[in-house]
């Protein structure tokens, strides 16, 4: 039997989680469009951001306002380092997209277990960011904390900023040109190498932000980014690899997993463990029926 308060709680939570899926999906979309590859190590960017935020706020007593930007910087640094050391050389050698994908899987394993070693040694295999989130109000018996004021506006502002950057600034337009046709861009005198680096910096910054938020929202383990990869890819693909679409898709997936799973459980008795199947069904349905995603924009050919 559906309880109004509990339903409201799942709806509210959907927007929290959906915001983070949106950030992860948007950054993933940018890396796919801008760097022409599927980065399986994308989740690790979020994990690094999450751990930096958690450790700095818990052990160094830093305020979130300092820790979160540091987390974003850390993730950006990792993104650039990985590209310079692994992806760019492979592209130069003419590796196929599957080979690069395979390399990204290896990078994902390498970084993830590196974090495992650190976390195990520091006894923080599970940790949460120590940020005070006082209760603001109560809706139908469900508490709403300031976490909502952190995450949801930040996500929307970030995506808006990204879109503005890509459409209004010179660098942004060059990035879009490079995404459409890298050869043409290079021939027109655009510094593709510097642009690529900028792409990874932005990707890392946004993914790191998502990770930091997740550490504020819940407990993290070294696998948190990897666990969120399914939802990241789902948001990006269902969003048709566009930025608007991915944001919408992120919230749809958040709603499906929270509200959808709750409703299915209360009305049809479907166990809540199956909620990941809901995400998957949406993804498969989109891939089979409309691979360009839920948007009307044409899917970019990579």
């Amino acid at each position: 039997m559906i309880q109004a308060g509990d339903l409201v709680s799942t709806v509210l939570n959907s927007f929290l989680v959906g915001s983070m899926y949106a950030l992860l999906g948007v950054s993933l979309t940018l890396s796919i469009n801008g760097a022409k590859m599927y980065n399986w190590a994308h989740g690790e960017l979020a994990t690094v951001g999450a751990y930096i935020a958690a450790v700095l706020t818990s052990f160094e007593g830093m305020s979130a306002l300092i820790a979160i930007p540091l987390a974003m910087l850390g993730a950006a640094g990792l993104a650039v380092a990985v590209d310079e050391s692994t992806y760019k050389p492979l592209v130069r050698r003419g590796a196929t997209s599957i080979q690069i994908m395979l390399a990204s899987i290896a990078v994902s394993i390498f970084v993830r277990y590196g974090i495992f070693i650190y976390a195990a040694a520091a006894f923080i295999l599970t940790i949460k960011a120590n940020v005070e989130t006082p209760v603001l109000t109560s809706i139908l018996g469900v508490e709403v904390t300031s976490l909502y004021l952190w995450i949801i506006p930040a996500a929307l502002v970030t995506v808006f900023a990204l879109r503005t950057f890509l459409t209004k600034t010179l660098t942004g337009k060059q990035i879009r040109a490079m995404s459409d046709n890298a050869e043409l861009a290079r021939v027109s005198g655009i510094n593709v190498t510097a642009l690529r680096r900028n792409v990874w910096i932005i990707v890392g910054v946004i993914a790191g932000l998502a990770g930091a938020f997740w550490a504020m929202y819940s407990f993290i383990t070294p696998e948190i980014g990897f666990d969120l990869l399914v939802d990241s890819f789902a948001a990006a693909i269902v969003g048709g690899l566009t930025y608007d679409g991915t944001v919408i898709a992120g919230y749809i997936i958040g709603l499906a997993e929270n509200v959808g799973a709750y409703l299915l459980n209360q009305t049809l008795g479907v166990p809540t463990q199956y909620k990941i199947l809901i995400t998957f069904s949406i993804l498969i349905a989109v891939l089979i029926a409309k691979p360009s995603g839920l948007t009307t924009k044409r899917m970019r050919e990579l």
Binding site: S97, M101, A103, V107, F110, F116, I276
Partner: protein, 328 residues
């Protein structure tokens, strides 16, 4: 303590055989037909689930064993049946292996639908997600494969050999024989006109299409065969572990399959053989060495994963096609 060579080499041989068959399966799919399967473990797991279910049901009929097939008590009874009924157990084994391959093939056929419609990248993602979801689904649904408890009592067909080391050795010989047979069958297939068609698709799909080769149907056929072989590998592994559990079919198996074919050389069955051997030998040797030499470190497994990942990256960066000669 002296090294128990029978157990050391016996178990290493079983892993080698299982890995070989799995690597050959992925090599056929990707190395020869260009289909990137990042959900390999899904088809592998099908063989495990099918074998488990069949063995449990068949023995309960043949051996007149009542009771819940998922209970540990009936698992014990099944183990006893295998010891005293070698002929019956062999019949069960053969049926289970064959049916596992059929089921693998069926799901391979189903997978061809997305395979035909999606680009390689999206196919890879779809198959990877399928494997993830399948693990979650089977774990949450008790009736299929024991859910969160798994299913035990899947005895080796050599259980009647009361000497454990002999039983392992005999089973290893069987698995290796099957692996070698598959190797030669695939070599035959790939050097036939059909095989040349496959290689032309891999080399340039657009060109092959322009020559009128029917790629969707061939893709489906390859997926069916490769998936059947992967399921066979899973089934053979399950008869060795005597226990199947959905939670064990993680991405690690898929990653191992890819590591093997990249190590050995993609698009080359000899490469699959080499890669499988290296993986099995390294695994067994390092595990034994760690136990025998006093290496006091709790994060060894993490370090091992990092080293394997780094080696994989190095191989991809230096020789994207692996170290074995690329066969033509």
């Amino acid at each position: 303590m002296a090294i128990d060579l029978a157990i050391f080499f016996g178990t290493m041989a079983v892993y080698f055989g299982v890995y070989l068959i799995l690597a050959l399966s992925l090599n056929l799919e990707y190395g020869f037909a260009g289909q990137p399967d990042f959900g390999k473990v899904f088809f592998f797991s099908l063989g495990a689930y099918a074998s488990g279910a069949l063995v449990a049901e068949l023995i309960s009929v043949l051996g007149n064993i009542p009771g819940d097939i998922f209970s540990a008590a009936t698992a014990n009874l099944r183990a006893e049946y295998a010891v005293s009924n070698p002929a019956g157990m062999w019949l069960v084994f053969i049926i289970a292996i064959v049916v596992s391959m059929v089921i693998g093939g069926v799901f391979g056929y189903l997978a061809s639908y997305p395979a035909i419609r999606l680009r390689a990248d999206y196919l890879a993602i779809t198959l990877l997600l399928t494997a993830t979801i399948s693990e979650n689904f089977v774990l949450s649904t008790p009736g299929i494969a024991g859910g969160a408890n798994g299913l035990g009592g899947i005895p080796s067909p050599f259980s009647w050999l009361t000497n454990g080391r002999l039983a392992i050795g005999a089973y290893a010989a069987l698995v290796l024989a099957i692996g070698v047979a598959i190797y030669f069958l695939l070599e035959r297939l790939l050097n036939s006109p059909y095989g040349r068609k496959l290689k032309s698709i891999r080399d340039d799909e657009a060109v092959a299409k322009s020559f009128g080769k029917v790629t969707p149907r061939i893709k489906a056929q390859v997926l069916v065969i490769a998936s059947a072989i992967a399921a066979l590998s899973g089934a053979l592994y399950t008869f060795f572990t005597n226990y199947e559990f959905a939670g064990s079919f993680t991405f690690v198996w898929t990653a191992n399959a890819w590591i093997m074919i990249v190590l050995g050389g993609v698009g080359n069955n000899r490469g699959a053989l080499l890669g499988a051997f290296i993986l099995a030998a390294l695994d067994s040797t390092t595990s034994l060495a760690i136990v025998m030499i006093n290496i006091p470190s709790y994060e060894l497994s993490y370090a091992r994963n990092m080293i394997v990942a780094a080696v994989l990256i190095l191989i991809l960066c230096s020789a994207p096609r692996g170290y074995s000669q690329r066969g033509h």
